[in-house]
């Protein structure tokens, strides 16, 4: 019954992220069945897969929003799955962008960006607001700094969410279907930001259905199926010459 785990190759030195035999079960339902991969610094990894394949769960294990049942996760040299790890400190170096933005509804765009700076990094109010303003400006949001999330379009909200993560100066950015909840005409502006970010050398793990984005911006693609990595390889090569039937079927459906 238990599937043979992939050979546990040692993590290449200097990996930004390395995941070994990651498993996650909810009760008797095994969602991740032994996932192993590495992400090099500045690498952009796209994770594709049908819904229910475990890709979102896998991503949330990378900052321990989901607690793995077994296996290890190392990000920036810190083993997050060690019992004694200071997870809050580790998370400040891992940015995460959510499908539904999850902006703090009671705060302005600027306060969303500065909240963790002030209360986690203990940056002064003035300095935090300076960082916040420059992050918002960088994402073309300077004019909505004082707006509440409810008064922003979906695309603007998601860009504020990206600014909120970037303000913490993370080493790694995780994107959990960041454009799936957006109206089609708003997807473009968020993908543009992500593409620029990829170009700037940020290490990124992107769970997405945007094959176009994967083809253009990703260095590598992982295809997940039923809690396992079914394909793992160079983005263009894999997308232009999909090896397995399951992957070909998936691409045919998405495209």
């Amino acid at each position: 019954m238990p599937t043979t785990p992939p050979p546990a190759r040692p993590a290449p030195p200097g990996s930004a992220i390395s995941v070994r035999d990651l498993r996650k079960s909810y009760g008797r339902n095994e969602v991740l069945r032994g996932v192993t991969f590495d992400v090099a610094p500045s690498e952009v990894l796209c994770v594709l897969g049908p819904s229910g394949s475990g890709k979102s769960t896998m991503l949330k294990c990378l900052n321990l929003l989901e607690t793995p049942t077994a296996g290890s996760v190392v990000v920036g040299g810190v083993t997050l799955t060690d019992p004694g790890v200071d997870i809050d400190a580790a998370r400040t170096r891992i940015g995460m962008v959510f499908q539904h933005f999850n902006l703090f509804g009671h705060l302005s765009a600027l306060d969303n960006v500065t909240l963790a700076l002030r209360h986690v990094k203990k940056v002064s109010k003035a300095e935090a607001e300076e960082i916040g303003h420059s992050q918002l400006k960088r994402l073309g949001l300077g004019h909505v700094a004082r707006h509440r999330p409810a008064n922003l379009s979906g695309g603007q909200q998601q860009r504020v969410a990206i600014a909120r993560s970037l303000a913490m100066r993370p080493e790694v950015m995780l994107f959990d279907e960041a454009t799936s909840a957006l109206d089609p005409e708003l997807v473009k502006e968020v993908l543009a930001v992500m593409r620029e970010l990829a170009g700037s050398g940020m290490t990124m793990v992107v769970v997405t259905h945007e094959i176009g984005f994967a083809r253009e911006a990703a260095d590598r693609v992982i295809f997940m199926d039923e809690g396992l990595i079914a394909e793992d390889g160079d983005a263009r090569e894999l997308l232009d010459h999909p090896p397995g039937t399951r992957f070909r079927e998936f691409l045919a459906q998405v495209l």
Binding site: D88, R91, L115, L139, H143
Partner: protein, 272 residues
């Protein structure tokens, strides 16, 4: 000025035409005797209103603070933390207010525990506040649970601890969810402040109900109670509208033009 209604009613009776006229007169005389009301107003407004507000406001603050602490305990993942809070809430919501006030205000001093000396007001504040805390805890818990789970995930993903995310993200939004429900509790607290009469009040400590009930007992006329009732309404009805106004203001936040026409900036990500 005098009593225009009473005068005409007296007239009816003197003419002795109907028993109905006399009954109507007695009814209005009992509840709306202007001289009774006028006589009661100075102490109602001067002494009573002040003491009622004092008890109610302090009890409300007590209830809000303790209620919020209890709500956070009720939401803990640890059963051992939840359990004492659960028991507290069930007990104080389940007891009649009159029993709680008696237990605190008569029981504690009898047991030699007299943090407020012989002043009944302090005991009333604690008793009403303890009851209020139990109800506030349930209101806050419901409001906090209505905050989407993604808010906690976002807070944690930024490196904020569970408690920090609670304090800075979840609780502020949870409170906003339940402001109208809290108004109901504030009104209950104002009304329950009257139970302090059980503890016996001397001049200067009397609140609205106590003053009115003293006058009613002396004159066998309920007009002072009507006057006291009006004083309660003068507190509770504006309170409702004040909280509704506050609620609207917090919901709307800063007035902002939604998604003002905004050119997609190029490049989306400038040099950083």
């Amino acid at each position: 000025m005098g009593r225009p209604y009473a005068a005409s009613a007296d007239g009816t009776r003197v003419n002795g035409e109907t028993k109905i006229g006399a009954a109507v007169h007695d009814f209005f005389h009992t509840f709306f005797d202007w001289s009774e009301i006028a006589g009661a107003l100075p102490s109602l407004l001067g002494e009573g209103l002040r003491n009622t507000l004092l008890i109610a406001v302090l009890a409300i603050i007590f209830g809000l603070v303790c209620g919020m602490l209890l709500a956070v305990l009720l939401l803990s993942r640890r059963r051992l933390v939840r359990l004492p809070a659960r028991i507290y809430v069930d007990v104080f919501r389940g007891l009649p207010a009159i029993v709680t006030v008696s237990l605190i205000g008569l029981g504690l001093p009898a047991a030699g525990i007299r943090p407020f000396g012989r002043s009944p007001l302090g005991y009333a504040v604690v008793a009403v506040g303890l009851i209020s805390a139990a109800y506030c805890a349930e209101i806050f818990r419901a409001g906090i649970q209505a905050v989407p789970a993604g808010q906690m995930q976002a807070g944690r993903s930024l490196g904020m601890s569970y408690l920090k995310t609670m304090r800075l993200v979840i609780v502020p939004q949870g409170v906003r969810n339940v402001l109208p429900a809290l108004t109901g509790q504030f009104i209950v607290d104002v009304k329950e402040s009257s139970l302090v009469y059980l503890l016996g009040l001397s001049v200067g400590q009397r609140e609205l109900y106590f003053i009115a009930q003293e006058r009613q007992a002396a004159s066998y006329n309920a007009s002072a109670l009507v006057a006291a009732g009006l004083c309660y309404l003068v507190i509770t009805i504006p309170l409702t509208y004040f909280v509704n106004w506050l609620d609207r203001r917090m919901r709307e936040g800063r007035p902002a033009r939604a998604g003002a026409e905004e050119p997609l900036p190029e490049p989306a990500l400038a040099e950083g």
